[in-house]
């Protein structure tokens, strides 16, 4: 095990993961509410793209989506390596996931610059930037978690215990990834 802290007892790890799942379920209701808001606005407004915007460019965001989904795969490979006691292979895949997550954020930033409207461009502009921004904050939080886990993996380690950090950060990352797929579908494919 890669964690430096005194190993947590299986009980504590188990209840931390359970607590995180409860939190993520609760957090998903925030996203659910925002999705309902998007759907309601879409149904109430026949034309709601900002003036001058005919349709949203899908190709670049789709590449971005692919990068994020792939990063979830990297997390899985990393966790798998850890189970087989390959700490360096774990670090390799973990860093890969961090890189892809960072690439997603940069891609989102470029997307924000490129779309040709902003948060003040009517209802669609506001909804677009609210949803992607709120999700972006989650990605950013996830990145911080991943980096923390990576940093801790280099501290003097007790490899015998079990730890919450890797599974917790991984779970959060999968959650953020899953939310994005729904968000991408609703915002880019369905609503314009």
């Amino acid at each position: 095990m890669v964690m430096a802290e005194k190993p947590l007892s299986p009980d504590v790890r188990d209840r931390s993961l359970f607590g995180l799942m409860v939190f993520l379920l609760s957090d998903s209701v925030v996203f659910l509410s925002l999705f309902v808001i998007l759907i309601a606005f879409r149904f109430q407004n026949q034309v709601w793209l900002p003036s001058g915007i005919v349709r949203l460019e899908v190709r670049d965001p789709a590449i971005n989506t692919f990068v994020l989904v792939a990063s979830s795969g990297a997390i899985m490979l990393a966790e798998n390596s850890l189970k087989r006691n390959h700490p360096w292979r774990f670090r390799f895949f973990w860093v890969l996931a961090i890189t892809m997550g960072a690439a997603f954020l940069v891609g989102q930033y470029l997307e924000w610059m490129r779309v040709g409207f902003n948060i003040h461009s009517g209802l669609f502009g506001a909804t677009f930037f609210l949803l992607t921004g709120f999700h972006g904050l989650h990605v950013f939080t996830g990145l911080l978690l991943l980096i923390t886990v990576l940093a801790r993996s280099f501290l003097v380690a007790d490899y015998s215990g079990v730890s919450f950090g890797v599974s917790g950060a991984g779970l959060f990352w999968h959650f953020v990834d899953g939310i994005w797929i729904v968000l991408f579908t609703l915002l880019y494919l369905w609503s314009p």
Binding site: S26, S33, A126
Partner: protein, 539 residues
């Protein structure tokens, strides 16, 4: 950093302990209760100012904008900083004790959740001193009223209100995660689901309800914040947005919030009645499961707050049906309580009096609630004092009385001292009389058409308003014997035994006050709760 799980020194708690970042669930429970009671007193003073203004039909004490702020902050403080966190404090102290755990699942998170509350409350109170004054849009803060921002300043009362509620929301979610994990994962060996005390059942159902409904309000508040601060059009009809959407988001939480508040009080009633009737709780399983039924149904009733908000008639019918449906699981509880005290050996000490009083008051609250759920009645009394009366029968006469019952019931356990019984009875009598004087006239006022949230009114309503105002002042007086009793007994009360009420719960099996880690050894549960004349709880 030392982890709270590993460091367990048997430290003596002094008054300084309560001002520090402490991770003991018992210390945090007391911190919650004392802090929220402070907010309760402030919100009560605001209420008496409102009632003073309403003594006469004319406008004569406070200017109208200030009056708006008074009722807005009275409601916000009472709900978000007294009832909800006050009950979280009781649950914090007693859930680990009642399930045989040494502490909550996440002690540090627990402390953080508490320490978010004082700044949130102080923000609200000090927003009175902003140039714009405090928020004026009522505790529900509907747009477009909440978006008017008459002061034109970026830092205005409404903005502070939103920020404060967001902070409280974060605290509540932290608390919810902690309670649910504690109850699911940390019960003592042998405590199966159907050996949990009802209070624990109700806390679990209330916290789950909060976890899955509060996020809707969070989303609504984020949008409201953006509308107010940078001018997005989410809730502004002129920009294509929809103000009704806010009402949906608000009530998707704030209706269940009433059950987040009242469910633990139902739990308190279910603890106290068996103890003071010396009988097992009647229909334990039905009472336990009906808590979950209430949680589920109450997530599907929110539109009954919006019958007058251009709601289509199919929706009105649907939500009228679900609203009336809530009466079934609550009725099961009231029936079980009645059957519990039936032919019991009743001991009418203060906790029992408050519990019985609370249940009788809840009948009035519940019946008027069903009336309000019926569309034609609701359309008639919408936004009148009938709603205000109903709500205060819920929040004061049921919930706050239930909280007093809990405080008297567990005072000997928490402090190791006994309170003065005669003062407790005086407090009960004053509360019962004053609360009914204050809130009952509101039903008549509402049915006759007196609109709420106004500071001057038609002279025909004067007599009932005088009664209500005098009742509210008496209600303020009724707090004095309580405060005197608590402080006096804490300082010079006689010692209390480990189990002065001959109650059966786990919390009574340990010393008063409980030691630092609650139990000498983790108890092994061998029987059902409330086992009067049956198998004991612990072998």
């Amino acid at each position: 950093m030392t982890s709270p799980e590993s460091v367990r020194i048997a430290q003596r708690t002094t008054w300084q302990t309560y001002l520090s970042f402490n991770t003991d669930h018992k210390v945090i429970g007391i911190q919650y209760l004392v802090t929220t009671f402070g907010f309760f007193l402030i919100a009560g003073l605001l209420a008496m100012l409102i009632r003073a203004e309403l003594l006469t039909p004319e406008l004569n004490i406070v200017p109208r904008p200030l009056y708006n702020s008074l009722f807005t902050l009275h409601g916000s403080l009472m709900i978000f900083l007294w009832v909800i966190p006050g009950l979280a404090g009781l649950a914090n102290y007693f859930v680990p004790l009642m399930i045989g755990a040494r502490d909550m699942a996440f002690p540090r998170l627990n402390a953080i959740a508490f320490w978010l509350l004082p700044p949130a409350g102080l923000l609200l109170i000090f927003s009175f001193f902003l140039p714009s004054g405090a928020a004026q849009a009522g505790w529900w803060s509907y747009p477009p009223v909440s978006l008017q921002n008459a002061s034109g300043q970026l830092l205005n009362g409404e903005l502070i209100w939103i920020l404060s509620l967001m902070i409280i929301g974060v605290s509540s979610i932290m608390g919810g995660v902690n309670f649910v994990t504690t109850i699911v994962k940390m019960r003592a060996p042998g405590m199966g689901w159907f050996r949990m005390p009802i209070f624990v059942w109700t806390v679990l159902s209330a916290q789950l309800l909060q976890l899955f409904s509060l996020p809707a309000l969070t989303a609504g508040l984020i949008l409201l914040f953006l509308d107010l601060s940078i001018g997005t059009p989410f809730f502004q009809a002129s920009g294509g947005g929809n103000p009704i959407l806010y009402q949906h988001l608000f009530w998707f939480y704030s209706h269940p919030a009433v059950y987040v508040m009242v469910l633990p009080v139902f739990g308190i009633f279910s603890e106290i009645l068996p103890a003071f009737s010396r009988k097992p709780l009647f229909g334990y399983k039905a009472v336990a499961l009906s808590s979950f039924a209430i949680s589920i149904v109450s997530m599907m009733v929110w539109v009954h707050h919006m019958f007058a908000s251009a709601t289509p008639s199919w929706m009105r019918l649907l939500f009228m049906f679900t609203t009336v449906l809530v009466a079934v699981p609550t009725g099961i509880k009231v029936f079980s309580w009645t059957a519990t005290i039936w032919r019991g050996k009743l001991h009418l000490e203060t906790p029992m009096l408050f519990a019985l009083g609370g249940i009788v008051m809840f009948l009035i609250a519940g019946i008027t609630g069903v009336m309000l759920g019926i569309v034609p009645v609701d359309i008639h009394v919408n936004n009148t004092y009938f709603v205000v009366g109903h709500f205060h029968y819920v929040v004061y006469n049921t919930i706050t009385m239930g909280m007093f019952a809990a405080i008297y019931y567990w005072f000997p356990k928490v402090t190791g001292k006994m309170y003065v019984e005669s003062w407790g009875k005086a407090h009960f009598l004053l509360t019962l009389v004053a609360a009914n004087l204050a809130f009952f006239p509101m039903f008549a006022l509402g049915l006759n058409g007196m609109v709420r949230r106004i500071s001057s009114y038609d002279p025909q309503f004067a007599a009932a308003n005088v009664v209500a105002s005098l009742g509210s002042f008496l209600l303020g007086v009724s707090i004095l014997p309580f405060l005197g009793n608590m402080i006096g007994s804490l300082l010079m009360g006689g010692p209390a035994s480990a189990n002065p009420w001959h109650a059966t719960g786990l919390e009574w099996q340990t010393s008063s006050p409980p030691p630092s880690e609650n139990f000498e050894a983790i108890p092994q549960i061998t029987g059902p709760p409330y086992g009067y004349g049956r198998k004991a709880l612990v072998s």
